[in-house]
C-alpha cells in the first residue's frame, strides 16, 4: 500500500454520560475541528468520508445514518460506514485512496454507550448458539483471560496495577480529554477489592461517550495543503477464531502477524498507543509488538483513561500522529482492537515525513 498522510486529528472529551448530546451533536464539533485544521469546511471538500460506530450501543437503529447529518452531505457525497471501530474506517479509506478513487478522506468514529449496559450489549456479539444465550459479558471474558496469565506466572497483579498507575499518571500529564486521571500508587490500587476477580474495577476501561475525527490524504495533497503531517508507513489487521477456548489467550497471535506485516520492527518505536481495554491486555500487546523500555507506551493514558467504543482505535492512531505532527517523535506504532479478549487487531506504523 502506498504511503498516506494524516493531516489532522481531533477528539472529544471522554464522558461517562453525554446525555445532552445526540449523535450529530457528539460528532459535529470534532469534525469541524479536524476539518478546520487543514482549512476545509465540510465533507464536500474531501473525496471520501467513512465512519465507524455500532447502533447496538445506544440501541438506535441506523444511528450512523443520523450521523451523516453532521457532514454537509448535500449534494450527495461518496460515503461509507463500518459497524466497527473507526480504525477500520481509516483502513477502508486508505484502500480507497490506494486504488486511486480518492485523494483525501474524512474519517470519524463515535460511541454513545451510556444509554445501554455496554458489557451486556457486547455479550450479544458472541456466538449466537453457544455464548450469547448465556449472556457472558465482555468483562468476564477478559477476566478469564487474565486468570490464565496469572496462573501461568506470565504476569502478576502488581504488573497489572502498574499499567493502571502509569495510565492515570500519563492521562493527568498529557490528556485533557481523559475520564480517569491522577496520581495513584500500585499499593493503593492493589488495596482495592476485586470486582470480577481476578480483575479489579480499575483493571477495566471506563465506559465513555464521545467521538473522534481524522483527515488523511495522499502525500502530494498534504504537501499542497502545506500543513505538517504524519505518514502511515504500514498497516495490517488480522483476526483470530471466535472460539475463545480454541485460542492461546496468553498471547496475541493476530497482533504479532499484523505487526510483522506492517513493519513494526523496521525501525525504533519511540511511542506506542495500544487499545488495551483491560490492564493485562496492554502487557500481552507490548509483547506481541516486541516493545521494550525504549518505547513510551500509551502517553495519553490509553483507553484505561477513557474508552470511546468505536472511536478509541482511531484515537490511538490520532494520538501517535499528533505527536509526530508536533515534532515530538519521529516514529510510532498505533494499535486498535475489536471483539472479546483481543480477537481482532490492527497495527499501524506512523513516521515523520
Amino acid at each position: 500500500m502506498k504511503d498516506i498522510a494524516i493531516v489532522s486529528f481531533a477528539q472529544s472529551d471522554c464522558r461517562r454520560d453525554a446525555g445532552a448530546c445526540n449523535e450529530v451533536e457528539l460528532i459535529m464539533p470534532v469534525i469541524e475541528q479536524a476539518m478546520q485544521a487543514v482549512g476545509l469546511n465540510n465533507s464536500q471538500d474531501v473525496d471520501f468520508t467513512c465512519s465507524g460506530s455500532c447502533d447496538y450501543q445506544q440501541g438506535a437503529a441506523f444511528a450512523f445514518v443520523m450521523g451523516v447529518d453532521a457532514l454537509g452531505a448535500v449534494p450527495p457525497i461518496k460515503e461509507s460506514h463500518v459497524e466497527m471501530d473507526a480504525a477500520w474506517a481509516l483502513y477502508e479509506s486508505m484502500l480507497k485512496i490506494s486504488m486511486g478513487q480518492a485523494e483525501s478522506a474524512l474519517i470519524y468514529g463515535f460511541g454513545k454507550s451510556s444509554p445501554g449496559e455496554l458489557p451486556t450489549v457486547l455479550s450479544q456479539q458472541l456466538d449466537p448458539y453457544y455464548l450469547a444465550p448465556l449472556w457472558v459479558d465482555s468483562v468476564s471474558l477478559a477476566a478469564l483471560q487474565a486468570r490464565v496469565l496469572l496462573d501461568r506466572g506470565l504476569l502478576s497483579e502488581q504488573d497489572m496495577a502498574a499499567v493502571v498507575a502509569r495510565s492515570r499518571a500519563n492521562a493527568k500529564a498529557n490528556n485533557p480529554h481523559a475520564q480517569l486521571a491522577g496520581d495513584v500508587s500500585v499499593e493503593e490500587l492493589l488495596a482495592e477489592s476485586p470486582w470480577v476477580a481476578p480483575l479489579r474495577k480499575h483493571d477495566c476501561c471506563p465506559i465513555s461517550d464521545g467521538a473522534s475525527a481524522m483527515v488523511i490524504c495522499t502525500i502530494e495533497k498534504a504537501r499542497a495543503w502545506g500543513k505538517p503531517y504524519a505518514v502511515i508507513r504500514g498497516i495490517d489487521h488480522r483476526m483470530e477464531s471466535h472460539n475463545i477456548g480454541a485460542r492461546d489467550l496468553t498471547r496475541s497471535v493476530s497482533t504479532e502477524l499484523a505487526a510483522a506485516q506492517a513493519g513494526v520492527d523496521r525501525g525504533p518505536v519511540e511511542v506506542a498507543e495500544l487499545y488495551a481495554p483491560f490492564s493485562h491486555q496492554e502487557i500481552i500487546l507490548s509483547q506481541a509488538l516486541g516493545l521494550d523500555d525504549s518505547t513510551e507506551i500509551n502517553p495519553s493514558g490509553g483507553v484505561l483513561a477513557g474508552n470511546l467504543m468505536m472511536a478509541s482505535g482511531l484515537s490511538r492512531i490520532g494520538e501517535v500522529a499528533t505527536r509526530i505532527m508536533s515534532g515530538d517523535v519521529r516514529r510510532g506504532v498505533a494499535h486498535a482492537t475489536s471483539g472479546p479478549c483481543l480477537q481482532h487487531n490492527l497495527v499501524a506504523v506512523l513516521e515523520a515525513a
Partner: protein, 149 residues
C-alpha cells in the same frame, strides 16, 4: 441541560436461528443429556462442536461424545451478577475442559468462591427439562464422586 428528556425502552430481537447440521446435532444430543464435540483435522476435539476447523477451514463432521464432567482451566468470580446473568447469587464463569475434549468451553459454575480454583473438578447440572439449548446445561457444579456425600 437540566431539563434533558430521558425515556427507558426495551429493544427486542425475537429471532429464530437455523442451527445447521453441526450445531443442530449438538443441541439435539444436549436434549438427551449427552455432550458431543467434533474432531478437528489435528485430532483436537472441540466442545461445543465447531463446524469448520479453525486452522485448515475444512468442514468437520466426525462427532465424538465426551463426558459431562471435567476440569476448570480458568474462572472469574461474579460478585455482583448482572440482570442478564443466569444467577442472582454470586457465581463463576469458567473455561471448562470436559473429559474427552481438547478445547475448553465457557459456562457458569455454581460453587462457593472459596471452593473455586483452577484445576477443580466439575460436573454438569442438567436443567429439569432439556429443550435443545446450551442452557440445558444449567451450570457446572463441584464434582461429586462415588463414596462422597
Amino acid at each position: 441541560m437540566s431539563d434533558l428528556l430521558r425515556q427507558q425502552f426495551v429493544l427486542g430481537y425475537t429471532y429464530t436461528r437455523s442451527t445447521g447440521p453441526v450445531v443442530g446435532r449438538f443441541l439435539t444430543e444436549l436434549r438427551q443429556r449427552k455432550i458431543v464435540g467434533t474432531r478437528g483435522d489435528d485430532g483436537r476435539v472441540f466442545v461445543p462442536p465447531m463446524e469448520f476447523d479453525p486452522v485448515t477451514a475444512s468442514a468437520l463432521d466426525e462427532f465424538v461424545e465426551v463426558s459431562d464432567r471435567g476440569e476448570v482451566v480458568s474462572w472469574c468470580w461474579i460478585s455482583e451478577p448482572r440482570d442478564s446473568h443466569p444467577f442472582d447469587e454470586p457465581f463463576a464463569w469458567a473455561l471448562v475442559l470436559l473429559d474427552g475434549a481438547d478445547v475448553p468451553m465457557v459456562h457458569a459454575v455454581a460453587a462457593p468462591e472459596a471452593e473455586m480454583h483452577t484445576g477443580m473438578r466439575v460436573q454438569a447440572r442438567w436443567s429439569e427439562e432439556p429443550r435443545g439449548y446450551i442452557t440445558d446445561i444449567a451450570c457446572f457444579e463441584p464434582e461429586v464422586t462415588q463414596g462422597e456425600g
